[in-house]
């Protein structure tokens, strides 16, 4: 098994993601440069957070034209697990792998804080170990993280259980106060219909070491690893 961490110019969580995978979970992982065109040899892809290409046009709007993204889209369609964190989520939406968009936070300000997250479905490679609506703690840090999608797509997302994470309070209740950015239906993360592509605003890559105040991020990467392991021979 080997996991790719894509490096776009302006990615700034690439090193955190690689360390979370290698130091935190002892998983084989490597960087893949955005100018590369192939993902051969990899079994899953992480699109890390940051400000790809400075996010000067619109978050993720330029990154999706990177050479590597053609391979990401192709692999995703073939069923490879793809996870986009923060800016990676924005890139997945821009690339059309996930519906909707991340717009500016309701406060119009960047927000960095610790939040609670409820796992809405265990039916993805990333949450397979997280049955029973578990509540996780991890940081968010974004200026444009308010998830928005048109009403029909929202209905589809909800009815097909594609909402993977929701912002909740500590006890697991969906409240207005626990929504840090104005996301519709408190949505913090969604998957595609095939369930192999996940986008989420919170940072499991910053929650994998007790010292950092939470290890809950390991549960997500751990689920992914365990899903991959039976199908990939070492």
């Amino acid at each position: 098994m080997k996991i790719a961490v894509v490096q776009f110019p302006g990615s700034n969580c690439d090193q955190d993601c690689l360390r979370a995978l290698t130091d935190g979970l002892h998983l084989p992982a490597e960087y893949v440069w955005h100018k590369q065109t192939s993902l051969s040899g990899f079994d899953a892809v992480v699109l890390p957070g940051g400000f790809s290409y400075g996010d000067y046009l619109r978050c993720g709007a330029i990154a999706r034209f990177s050479p590597i993204m053609r391979a990401v889209v192709r692999s995703a369609k073939e069923g490879m697990p793809v996870i986009g964190l923060c800016n990676g989520f924005q890139i997945l939406c821009e690339a059309g792998l996930l519906p909707g968009a991340l717009i500016r936070n309701q406060s119009l300000r960047f927000v960095c804080q610790s939040i609670w997250l409820r796992v809405e479905t265990g039916d993805t490679p990333f949450t397979a170990n997280l049955q029973g609506r578990r509540v996780l703690k991890m940081p968010i840090a974004h200026g444009e993280g308010s998830y928005f999608v048109d009403e029909r797509s929202l209905e589809t997302l909800e009815s097909k259980n594609q909402v993977v994470f929701r912002y909740v309070d500590e006890t697991g209740d969906v409240t207005a106060g626990s929504n840090p950015n104005g996301s519709i239906h408190n949505i913090a993360g969604i998957c595609n219909e095939a369930r192999n592509v996940l986008g989420m605003m919170p940072h499991p890559d910053r929650a994998w070491d007790r010292k950092l105040g939470s290890e809950d991020g390991k549960l997500i990467f751990g689920s992914l690893a365990e899903t991959l392991e039976p199908v990939v021979s070492r």
Binding site: P9, G10, N12, C13, Q15, D16, R19, A20, D23, W33, G49, G50, F51, Y53, G54, D55, Y56, R109, F110, V111, C112, Q113, P139, A141, G143, H203, D205, R206, W208, D209, K211, L212, G213
Partner: protein
């Protein structure tokens, strides 16, 4: 076209007749227009420290752990053990932030980050020390202060978040003296191995000199000279002297430079900050004992028709000068192509000691590099002491309602929670933040080195205004105390001296007193000064800022279990006060905020007491006897106790009794006497803890117990009670409320 050098032109370049005569003596001829510009920026206060150099010599700069001393390079470097070292420095961007707060603050962040990776270090985190005029109220001044405040915070957030370096702490305070002249002091720390220390020296005659990074434009033209003048009504016209930052380019440059440094082909590296290409060429040549010759026609430019004068004095951001070893040219090209960054070989290292600048092969500047970089005039300015402030007498102060006073103090923006600010900063990127903003000191885990670092910035400018020497000493003491409370042993200091116009004897006196106070305290606390920055001419049209010698201090926490936070944790824990109850109300926030009086002598620091308290607190922490430790500073015991109750993840009450203590309750609660720490400890640690304090012969007292949902304080027959939720909301939501108004 030749521009004639007239007395007027010399004056508009900020040079005196005497300085001009010295320039002629160095050159043995008249300078041309371009050379005049070069001298003007290099000999500006910002680059030459001409009015402060003699004072700065008073700082203790040596120590066993000092690997690169203050003034040697772009930043000092300190050994942190196991062949790892940290490079850190604080720098101001006050003038640009007054004129263009967003870009001014953003480029301040960019500049200090470049200073750190220029040393070969990977930048790990940032701190900011910020000062603004009061933000409360509906007056035009308050509105403008709110604008400056929110734009500066947005600028820091813009640059720091995008480049991916967490902003994990600092301080912010508000006072009338900063109206129209905010202070933006930015601190950055990076990690490196001893053998990775890079030098800003042009080594090796014949080596190629490369320009890398963003193209040069006309922005920030002569910014260093602009920052060396008073801010006036006309300063708005200097807006072109403010640079524009591009954190995305900054990120690429950071990664490319670190990759290049790791390749081992770099002979010298210097960022282009103040005075841009001028400063980087003459300083690298001067440090290398060599010369540098470059041709401006080769410099990547984003505007057409730029003159040599403009190219040399531009302060466009995200640029570096790199000298590569022979044969390393291909490596540089490969790495900078990979990162899609502009680069150009603009010249080479020479043996003649000259900074020689050509334009299409024609010599435009030819100046002995060492003399330009190091022989700036040095002045000893006239100093005139302020009359000493009177001693505070409690009899002259009508007692105010202490219940209400505590709530008002907690809600005052200087003391209130800064979450409105730090939530806008990405403080968790790089996955190392252990104690986030909002504690006495921030704690960061350096994964590659397996080290816990603590860092803080401190300065009480109200104390400095009323007694600069004492205020400066206290700034060092408080910084050290903050580190101790987090479990760290203080290592070293960087300072940022912010003052008004040094040609005013009273201002120069403030500066000298402050420097001597800092120097003395650093010596006593055993923390060398490894670098820093001086920012003068901080004047608004009415007056000078209060003297603000900001101290940035770094410490190491030896073991993870020593990391200590400021808030009470568990019911029934015992609350201790280490140090005296105190009585000094002069220059306190209580006098200023509640009684509207910014006067009287500030508290006095006793080194013996302070060192004793710090040693005992650290020892208690290391012995595992302590659950929380919080230093008493602005707002005294009252504010510190409240913060212990409300700044943690779970709010908790406390009951505190001062027994028959004779002072008035407001004096007990709000005095700002130094050398005091509030500890909480589990009941089972009581005997051991008290034995340690008694053995150390340090004054201490059992104040009360953690528990309930109220903060209850009694002394003699008086008892005050606050609901901790009420205290919390007064404190936590205050800045948000003010900014929404």
């Amino acid at each position: 076209m030749v521009t004639e050098i007239t007395p007027d032109l010399i004056r508009t370049h900020g040079l005196t007749d005497q300085e001009y005569a010295q320039i002629k003596a160095i050159l043995g001829r008249e300078p041309n227009f371009t050379e005049l510009g070069v001298f003007s920026v290099m000999w500006s206060e910002h680059c030459s420290y001409k009015n402060t150099r003699l004072e700065l010599k008073k700082f203790p700069i040596s120590g066993q752990k000092v690997l690169v001393k203050a003034g040697e390079e772009n930043a000092g470097v300190i050994d942190v053990g196991d062949s790892w070292a940290v490079a850190f420095k604080m720098e101001s961007h006050n003038h640009p932030s007054a004129i263009e707060p967003f870009q001014g603050a953003a480029t301040g962040v960019g500049g200090i980050i470049r200073d750190i990776f220029t040393m070969g270090a990977r930048p790990l985190f940032l701190l900011d020390s910020l000062r603004f005029g009061p933000i409360q109220g509906a007056s035009p001044a308050a509105k403008n202060n709110r604008r400056l405040f929110s734009e500066v915070v947005a600028g820091i957030s813009h640059y720091g978040n995008c480049i991916g370096i967490p902003t994990i702490g600092g301080e912010i305070s508000f006072d009338e003296s900063y109206e129209g002249n905010p202070l933006v002091n930015v601190f950055c720390l990076g990690i490196l191995r001893h053998e990775q220390i890079a030098r800003g020296a042009a080594k090796g005659v014949g080596n190629s000199v490369f320009y890398v990074g963003s193209e040069t434009g006309r922005d920030g033209l002569a910014g260093a000279a602009f920052a060396s003048r008073d801010l006036t009504e006309q300063s708005k016209q200097d807006r072109p002297a403010v640079q524009v930052g591009d954190p995305f380019k900054g990120k690429l440059l950071l990664e490319a430079c670190l990759e290049l440094l790791a390749s081992g082909c770099v002979a010298g590296i210097q960022d282009m900050g103040a005075a841009g290409l001028t400063c980087s060429t003459c300083e690298t040549a001067s440090r290398g004992g060599t010369g540098v010759e470059i041709d401006l026609a080769l410099v990547p430019q984003r505007e057409t028709g730029m003159t040599p004068y403009e190219i040399l004095l531009s302060e466009s951001q995200e640029r570096m000068l790199i000298i590569v070893e022979r044969g390393g040219e291909a490596t540089l090209k490969e790495i900078f192509d990979k990162w899609d960054l502009p680069y150009a070989r603009v010249g080479e290292v020479t043996c003649d000691g000259m900074m020689r600048v050509l334009d299409h092969g024609c010599v435009k500047v030819e100046i002995p590099a060492r003399k330009l970089a190091n022989n700036a005039p040095v002045y000893e300015r006239e100093a005139l002491a302020d009359p000493q402030a009177p001693e505070f007498r409690i009899e002259d102060l009508p007692a105010a309602d202490s219940h209400e006073s505590l709530i008002r103090l907690l809600a005052y923006p200087t003391i209130a929670s800064k979450n409105w600010v730090y939530r806008q900063y990405d403080h968790t990127v790089r996955a190392g933040t252990v104690v986030p903003p909002g504690s006495d000191a921030a704690v960061f885990y350096v994964r590659e080195a397996d080290k816990f670092l603590a860092a803080t910035t401190d300065c009480n400018s109200l104390y400095c205004k009323l007694n600069p020497r004492e205020g400066a000493r206290i700034a060092v003491a408080e910084a050290a105390r903050n580190l101790i409370c987090s479990g760290a042993k203080p290592l070293a200091v960087t300072d940022n001296l912010n003052f008004g116009n040094p040609y005013q004897p009273k201002i120069f006196w403030q500066l000298r007193e402050s420097v001597e106070g800092l120097a003395e305290a650093c010596l006593r606390f055993g923390v060398p000064v490894v670098g820093g920055n001086v920012s003068l001419y901080n004047q608004n049209p009415n007056s000078a800022i209060d003297p603000t010698p900001t101290v940035g201090m770094v410490g190491v926490i030896g073991e993870e279990r020593w990391i200590t936070r400021q808030y009470f944790c568990d019911q029934s824990d015992i609350i201790y006060l280490i140090g005296p109850v105190g009585h000094e109300l002069g220059a306190s926030q209580y006098l200023k905020i509640i009684h509207g009086r910014k006067e009287f002598l500030p508290p006095r620091l006793s080194y013996d007491l302070e060192l004793g308290v710090q040693a005992v607190v650290l020892s208690l922490i290391q012995q595992g006897l302590v659950k929380s430790a919080h230093d008493c500073s602005e707002g005294g015991l009252g504010v510190a106790l409240a913060e212990c109750c409300i700044s943690g993840p779970r709010r908790v009450g406390a009951r505190v009794d001062f027994g028959n203590w004779p002072e008035r309750l407001d004096q007990i609660l709000f005095n700002e006497s130094q050398s005091r720490v509030i500890l909480s400890a589990p009941p089972e640690a009581k005997e051991a803890l008290e034995a340690v304090c008694a053995a150390a012969e340090i004054q201490f007292g059992r104040m009360g117990q953690v528990g309930g949902s109220d903060l209850i304080v009694s002394a003699r027959r008086e008892t005050l009670l606050w609901d901790v939720d009420e205290l919390y909301h007064a404190w936590y939501d205050s800045i948000e409320r003010v900014m929404r108004s």
